[in-house]
Amino acid sequence: MPKLIITNRSGEKSEIEFDSNLTLMETLRDNGFDIEASCGGCCACATCHVYIDDKWRNNLNKMDEDEEAMLDQAFDVTEKSRLSCQISLSDDLDGLEVEIAPE
């Protein structure tokens, strides 16, 4: 199974396996990471904010306008910011490094 490398809000790193049928948010939530995702993944709340490591950013599905607009409700937004519910996982993302943004 391909793996993700996740940094939680305390800065601890861990590796989790992923299923490429899920989104990044679903995978994080399913693995017990503290991610609110209050709208359930329909890009309507900005509570699944993550940072994606520089070297991986271009390998992801592109951010659409909806996601960019929703990030307006998040804080500490940087060029690394994404909403994890909008990231589809695929096998070629094996090794993807993700940091969960502060609340």
């Binding site: 607009a69 307006d72 804080f75 500490d76």
Partner: protein, 336 residues
């Protein structure tokens, strides 16, 4: 004045709305309370335009369509809505309960049905240190009385409709600076172009950036540090008005002494009653083994909850099970 009804439903989302139908069929009257300014809960607030695919017999329905159809369905039962207010307190009485809201509405009912979803929608607060010290003094997340800002220096933060509408409105009588993390706004195009016009004639100042810190000041003003990709800077204003949308919070429900399971209300699966008799909980707010947070689970829970509520409302009556298709009496209630 205290209003009286059979059941107070806390939360006017899809499940709270459908509860009116199930209770109505049993001759039980309801009043609903919601902190939003409209009915429909998350369906109307978070994803009115987004499709839902798992409502039985509706291959595709949007959040708003589902809300509108539910309103139509419960209309024969004439529910009363109390919007823009949160239930703060509940008090046990001989009759049942008095429910008191944040703006002083009081409703007395035999039963309470909590259908509060993920909690009530409240403004999302800026996550910066010490901001609590300034809230409702120098920092306002909602505007109740705009005259307090007349002639003052304001910093409005955000890029949605509230931020832009208030920027345009308050720029008439105040010195408004708008701060937003990028040049694009998700607010309605009309408000955005109006803001740009005001900016051109110098009525509004725009800063691209994000607020990072509150700096201590001795005077009456509030000093904020902000930054963008290029630089860091400071601004001193009389008031800061952040508009970053809404988030959901369990709120006062947590203090009512109901048994909880990780912030959700524990219920039985026969009547969906909580650990406190005559208080029920349905929809996303409740928990029982096997719970799935689906609208359709909430609909099922509504029907069974109504059977439980019936016993409190009509302790001496027998509840006869009937179908809406065939019962003349139910047809009368539905006006069909």
């Amino acid at each position: 004045m205290i209003e009286k009804t059979d059941v107070v439903i806390i939360g006017a989302g899809p499940v709270g709305l459908f509860a009116v139908f199930e209770l109505g069929l049993l001759n039980i009257h309801c009043q609903l309370i919601d902190n939003l300014d409209k009915v429909g809960g998350q369906c109307a607030e978070l994803y009115p335009e987004k499709p839902i695919y798992d409502i039985p017999s509706r291959p595709l329905v949007t959040g708003q369509e589902l809300t509108d159809e539910l309103i139509k369905q419960i209309n024969p039962f004439k529910p009363k809505f109390h919007l823009n207010q949160q239930v703060d307190k509940i008090i046990k009485t001989e009759f049942g309960w008095i429910v008191e809201t944040s703006i002083g509405t009081k409703v007395e009912a035999k039963c309470i049905v909590v259908a509060a979803g993920a909690g009530s929608f409240v403004p999302r607060k800026l996550p910066i240190e010490n901001i609590e010290k300034y809230e409702n003094k120098k920092v306002f997340y909602a505007i109740r009385n705009k005259s307090q800002f007349t002639g003052k220096d304001l910093l409005i933060a955000g890029g949605g409709d509230s931020a832009l509408d208030w920027t345009n409105e308050l720029s008439k009588d105040c010195n408004v600076t708008l701060i937003h993390r990028r040049k694009e706004f998700r607010a309605a195009p009309d408000s955005v172009s109006k803001m740009h016009e005001l900016e051109k004639i110098g009525k509004v100042k725009f800063i691209k950036g994000q607020i990072k810190e509150i700096l201590e000041t001795k005077g009456k003003k509030i000093k904020l540090k902000y930054e963008n990709e290029e630089n860091k800077s400071q601004i001193e204003v009389d008031y800061l008005l952040p508009f970053f949308g809404l988030k959901m919070e369990l709120g006062p429900i947590a203090d009512w002494g109901l048994n909880l399971h990780e912030n959700l209300i524990k219920v039985d699966t026969e009547k969906f009653e909580t650990s406190t008799p005559s208080i029920f909980a349905i929809g996303d707010i409740n928990w029982y083994p096997g719970k799935l947070k689906l609208i359709l689970s909430g609909f099922h829970e509504s029907a069974l909850m109504a059977q439980g509520v019936f016993k409190y409302c009509f302790p001496d009556k027998k509840n006869i099970f009937r179908y809406t298709t065939s019962s003349k009496d139910l047809h009368k209630k539905l006006g069909v």
